[in-house]
């Protein structure tokens, strides 16, 4: 019966089946322990964050510096979706931490500090996109790059080139659509997470996602037409 529960193909090799079963049981046994350690580390980081937030409110620069050092890579990852220019990217990350310090009094210590920062970062990035759109500074989308990448095997596509092409493609959409697609597809946020990051309602996120998807489909069909010409 044990053998059947693992895989029918191992009936012919009971020894292998037994080894696999033992591995499975052991790994499942260890799983809660690993999760427990992860949870402990997470809780510890949370409490460290809260201590440093309180110290920052009292005006201790070292505490805020520690907070920045702990979270700058995470914020850097978020802001890389908003600008792929290394200089602007660093400026945006800097702006996020300056803005966060200015409003640190509004952090209520209920949600993780990281989530609160992510919300500020999303707002700062969206503001940057809107500013770029107002100034008509839109990243150039190259059909040649698209064609070159489309000719490659899916597994061979370089992640940096894929991200750059996608960034330029989404830049052709209005900032609102671009934001919701970036959050939902690239950052892998669900509706609730996207709503938290944008400050919109869940309904609004759903509506905006559908609208943005339609615009994206239209854009993709335009690309297809241009390619066939």
């Amino acid at each position: 019966m044990i053998v059947f529960s693992i895989n029918k193909s191992y009936i012919i090799n009971p020894a292998l089946a037994l080894v696999l079963y033992a591995t499975k049981v052991l790994s499942e046994k260890d799983k809660p322990a690993i999760e427990h350690i992860d949870q402990q580390a997470y809780d510890m980081e949370q409490s460290l964050d809260i201590e440093d937030v309180r110290a920052s409110r009292r005006g201790e620069p070292d505490a805020y510096k520690r907070l920045i050092e702990r979270h700058q890579q995470h914020i850097g990852k978020i802001m890389w979706r908003f600008s792929r220019d290394p200089l602007i990217h660093e400026e945006l990350v800097e702006d996020v931490f300056v803005e966060a310090y200015m409003s640190i009094g509004t952090y209520r210590e209920k949600a993780p500090f990281e989530n609160w920062l992510a919300k500020i970062a999303t707002r700062a990035g969206y503001r940057y996109w809107k500013q770029q759109a107002r100034q008509k500074k839109i990243e150039r989308f190259s059909l040649e790059d698209w064609d070159r990448l489309a000719g490659e095997e899916t597994e061979e596509i370089d992640s940096t080139r894929a991200a750059a092409t996608l960034h330029n493609l989404l830049a052709q959409l209005p900032p609102r659509d671009r934001l919701v697609l970036t959050l939902r597809y690239l950052d892998g946020c669900d509706v609730a997470q996207a709503a938290h990051r944008t400050g919109w309602t869940k309904g609004m996120v759903k509506v905006q996602t559908n609208r943005a998807k339609k615009k994206l489909e239209k854009l993709l069909s335009q690309i297809k037409e241009r390619r066939t010409l």
Partner: protein
Amino acid sequence: MKNNDFFNALVTGAAKEQPPQVNVADRVIATLTAQDKQLERIWDRPLMWIAALSSAAAVPFVGLAVFLHNIWTGPLYEISKAISWVM
């Protein structure tokens, strides 16, 4: 490959990208310190406070002046003035 499939392939590829490392801690602290100093300087300027308070006090008077100007140069006022002269 269809465009939609290719788009999904790009999303999968882009998700694996490692963003550049950033180190902004020192610059942020320097910016915040500079801002704090600027704020301190603002609080220390008595002349600026006198100017701000007198500007605030002048606002109602400017409002009143605009209001009276609109009344006195309005057509209704002109007509009533002409009628009172005839009478």
